[in-house]
Symmetry: C2
Subunit: 154 residues, 2 copies
């Protein structure tokens, strides 16, 4: 995974969350993910192909997901139902789209697959890029935390 990919994914996450969910997420320190441990309760995953092959995951705590979706669709949900999952999928799609648009400007063309959303406590996630590293960026908001992970073959 190229270092140049970091900023587009970070910036896209801030852009989409602030535009679509009226939140101001503060990024923490990006790190190389060394284990499968995750902290989220709901996660959107989207595959990317083109300049290289990869995947992007966006994972929210339950409280953060419910706030994000409330702000996005103007409707409060008390539990993690299918509408919340659809909204997280759509958000993952938009973050991927914003990042791809920035990556294209610096010469890296990517196409996105469709998002898949996984819900469940205590799940672990592992990206299987041959020889690739997985980069993780944590974000904090007043309504809880979330993080993104990106992994690319090159």
């Amino acid at each position: 995974m190229k270092a140049e990919y970091l900023n587009p994914f970070l910036q896209a996450t801030i852009n989409v969350l602030s535009t679509m969910a009226m939140l101001s997420p503060k990024p923490g320190k990006p790190s190389i993910k060394e284990s499968d441990i995750t902290v989220g309760d709901i996660m959107g995953i989207i595959g990317l192909t083109g300049h290289s092959e990869g995947s992007l995951a966006v994972s929210f705590s339950e409280s953060c997901a419910l706030k994000v979706v409330e702000n996005m669709i103007g409707e409060k949900h008390e539990e993690m139902n299918e509408e919340v999952a659809d909204a997280v999928g759509e958000l993952t799609n938009m973050i991927s789209g914003d990042a791809r648009s920035q990556l294209q400007k610096v010469g890296f063309d990517f196409t996105a697959a469709i998002p898949t959303v996984v819900r469940g406590k205590d799940h672990t996630v592992r990206h299987v890029a041959q020889g690739g590293t997985t980069l993780m960026i944590p974000f904090s908001t007043d309504d809880g935390n979330f993080y993104i992970e990106a992994s690319f073959s090159d």
Copy 2:
């Protein structure tokens, strides 16, 4: 999702499981997935782009995953660790590759992203293809059940 996609995914699953894991999975009746409910303990997910956008998920019960991985790598694992996750990711990759090769022969070109593997009891999964349907095919083996899901925008 085109009806022509069904058989390549079904056949690829049988091909890969029988070649790589010496199992003879029996396919059940394919159906349109109407809800998020899943039955698996470990799932490989891979995004596809090209003729249309989609994703493929391959989900195993714990007992079936452990047997598949034992047969694949010739080493018995008692629990769902990172090596089991890597093997499930590789298997997902191979099923996608075999299906894409069959689809190419009938004029549908696809490129695959990298697999992501999710582990955890009681997780639910939802594919978010705009206007797309999700097709589910259950398989049974002497060592437990697994299923595949495929969802495409067209």
